[in-house]
């Protein structure tokens, strides 16, 4: 500008001041350089060992799956009456983890929570990879896997007897819910990536990078006429994804709630499952993002304020989950159904008491530490609690599934489920798959939404002196 006018903007009152979302007044250029640099520079030293270990663990899972398919589901520990065990536990566990990604990207967007911008990209990637891990288990648990993929059983095509799938079954609803969820998450994630891929394209130095980032950036030029449609589409996708994410775990819970099994047949399941899913997902986001934040030096973008806010979400959802546990017991007693009452007494004090109390300690007691600001801002303690949340939420699904099944109506059918090595290795292997995909993601794509983070800095606001405002706001 030719005439520089100095404007004095009075600072807001102290109690209204907020910690900035990007620390140290970083410029737009710094944000691009920092975030794109992670995917551009030389491969970090820690990356290769991490990748090789993850890939080996992933290979172990595929070996186990091959063994399962070639031999039969007998290689797992489940049997009558425990027909569902680690397979469905793992499915619900992984799909639940995915929910935090969509919550962060969609629900927090609708609620205008600007702090989401630092974590939404990685959280959405986490969603996608978690859905991939989740999708494997229901398919392999069918035993004869080819039937799960064969038209007529899951895919709505007439099977060999020209019979169509049965749409009254929540299991089929689940197929639609999970596949829609995976697809829409991918679309939403990709939409968010397009402007950042353009940044990567324009920064690329090698021909290969120019070509691939160029293809996937779809010719994005950052035109405001484009941003106008883009922003609207993003808002709509957020609006569409919000009922989706609520419906997915509700439908997963219908798999149980619509059945007649005591311990499953409860109306509290949909909201309880959704809250648990968000809880577990935020646990996993923290488990992933805290090491990345340190290793990649992203403390200015993923600030302590972000960590603290995520801690608050964990506290809120953890408390909802705790309330749901208590309410289940209350209704079991209040409902007066002896089978229901037995199922719950057996859950807490039966042979699987250890699983139940692991769940309660990890999910209900542990997150209560987040009432303390000192705990929420201590990265190491937050990380440890987030691990407990992950463990607790896996046990929640295990408790719901296995303890409800292992006591049948006839005591002669009662049994005690013990996993085999195939169960254990398949589950551990799914973490290998998850980590492999995540490591590839952070090596090749910007793991934080560059353009969105730029948009929440003070210099991005045209009415802020740093954004080039000449007089105060003029709206």
């Amino acid at each position: 500008m030719a005439e520089e006018t100095t404007i004095k903007v009075a600072a807001p009152p102290r109690e209204l001041e907020r910690e900035p979302l990007v620390l140290n007044n970083r410029s737009f250029g710094w944000i691009s350089d920092k975030i794109a640099g992670i995917a551009e520079g030389k491969t970090a030293k820690w990356w290769w060992p991490a990748f090789i270990i993850s890939a080996l663990v992933m290979t172990m899972m595929f070996a186990c799956v091959a063994y399962l398919i070639s031999t039969g589901v007998g290689v797992w520990g489940l049997n009558n009456p425990v027909g569902w065990a680690w397979d469905i536990t793992n499915f619900v566990f992984w799909i639940g983890i995915g929910h935090a990604g969509t919550l962060i990207s969609a629900v927090l967007f609708l609620l205008r929570q600007k702090w989401r911008t630092s974590i939404n990209r990685a959280a959405e990637a986490m969603t996608l990879f978690a859905v991939v891990c989740a999708g494997i288990f229901p398919v392999i648990h069918t035993g004869r896997v080819w039937f799960a993929l064969y038209p007529g059983y899951l895919v709505p095509m007439p099977n060999s007897n020209s019979i169509w799938p049965q749409f009254r079954s929540p299991l089929l609803w689940d197929v639609f819910a999970v596949s829609t969820y995976g697809t829409v998450s991918l679309l939403f994630w990709y939409t968010g990536l397009v402007p950042d891929l353009a940044t990567m394209r324009d920064r690329a130095v090698t021909k290969g990078r120019k070509f691939f980032y160029g293809i996937f950036a779809l010719g994005w030029t950052g035109a405001n006429r484009h941003w106008r449609n883009y922003e609207k589409a993003y808002l709509l996708l957020a609006g569409i994804s919000t009922p989706l994410v609520l419906s997915v775990h509700s439908i997963v819970s219908f798999d149980f709630a619509v059945s007649q099994v005591p311990g499953w047949h409860t109306t509290i399941f949909p909201p309880y499952f959704v809250a648990g899913a968000i809880f577990s997902g935020f646990g996993m986001v923290l488990t992933l993002m805290l090491p990345i934040r340190t290793v990649c030096g992203l403390q200015d973008v993923i600030t302590l304020r972000h960590v603290e806010l995520m801690g608050k979400v964990v506290l809120a959802t953890g408390s909802i989950v705790g309330y749901a546990y208590a309410m289940e017991f209350f209704i079991a007693w209040y409902g007066g159904n002896p089978y229901e009452m037995y199922a719950f007494k057996n859950r807490a004090f039966g042979p699987y008491w250890w699983a139940y109390w692991t769940m309660v300690s990890c999910n209900v007691i542990c997150p209560q530490l987040f009432w303390f600001k000192k705990v929420r801002r201590n990265v190491i303690v937050v990380f440890i609690i987030s691990i407990f949340v992950n463990i607790g939420m896996w046990f929640e699904r295990f408790v719901i599934i296995v303890t409800s099944l292992h006591r049948d109506y006839l005591p002669s059918s009662w049994s005690y489920f013990v996993p085999t090595w195939v169960d254990i290795c398949t589950f551990i292997g799914s973490f290998g798959l998850f980590c492999t995909l995540f490591l590839l993601f952070m090596r090749f794509l910007p793991l934080i939404a560059i353009s969105e983070v730029k948009g929440v800095t003070p210099q991005a606001d045209p009415h802020h002196p740093l954004g080039g405002a000449k007089s105060g706001g003029h709206h």
Binding site: S27, W227, R228, P243
Partner: protein, 192 residues
């Protein structure tokens, strides 16, 4: 329009390369918005402001109306819901009727969860394809992307672009207008 600009530039210098647009660079969103207001008021049509992120208030400064993407979402959603209901009615209520638990052959209630998911699925695809369609993307090539200076847009620059194809474009006048907006760097982008 193109002829007009060609004759004008032809009087000053021999035309070797055809120009696609004139660009003016700004450092802050505030400067870009004020420039956009002036260009809007001058009555240009084929112009745009390229920014590293969506700038709040730029739509008004450019005189742009609300985006039409919502219509695509709505139609996609309506199509999804209809598809779901019709599909389930056809499969379970018409083509191969199976009575399960004495329940009606078709009811919108049991068909709802799947139709709901299809509503969301179709609406998402329609939103995304609608958005890219309205933006005339994907595009494999754009003259602006050949310009070195323009690449700053995805980094930290705000660039106002007026195409030479605009009816109001004139090489000297448009440049003067852009200089008046306070741009630090103005240049022509070649047509490639």
């Amino acid at each position: 329009m193109a002829t007009q600009s060609q004759t004008q530039s032809g009087t000053t210098q021999p035309v070797l390369t055809r120009h696609h647009a004139i660009i003016a660079e700004f450092d802050t969103p505030g400067d870009a918005i004020r420039a956009a207001e002036q260009v809007r008021d001058a009555g240009f049509q084929k112009w745009d402001v390229h920014t590293p992120f969506a700038v709040h208030g730029m739509d008004a400064a450019m005189g742009l109306k609300n985006s039409k993407v919502g219509w695509f979402s709505f139609c996609g959603g309506a199509l999804g819901l209809t598809t779901g209901m019709l599909m389930i009615w056809f499969m379970n209520g018409f083509d191969y009727q199976i009575v399960v638990g004495g329940k009606p052959l078709f009811s919108p209630l049991y068909a709802f969860p799947v139709s709901y998911e299809l509503t969301i699925l179709f609406a998402s695809f329609a939103t995304l394809f609608g958005m890219f369609g309205l933006n005339r993307l994907p595009r494999l090539h754009h003259p602006l992307l050949r310009n070195r200076r323009f690449l700053g847009v995805t980094h930290d620059k705000f660039i106002l672009v007026i195409e030479t194809a605009d009816p109001k474009y004139s090489e000297s006048e448009t440049r003067k207008l852009l200089e008046k907006t306070g741009s630090k760097h103005i240049e022509m982008v070649e047509e490639t």
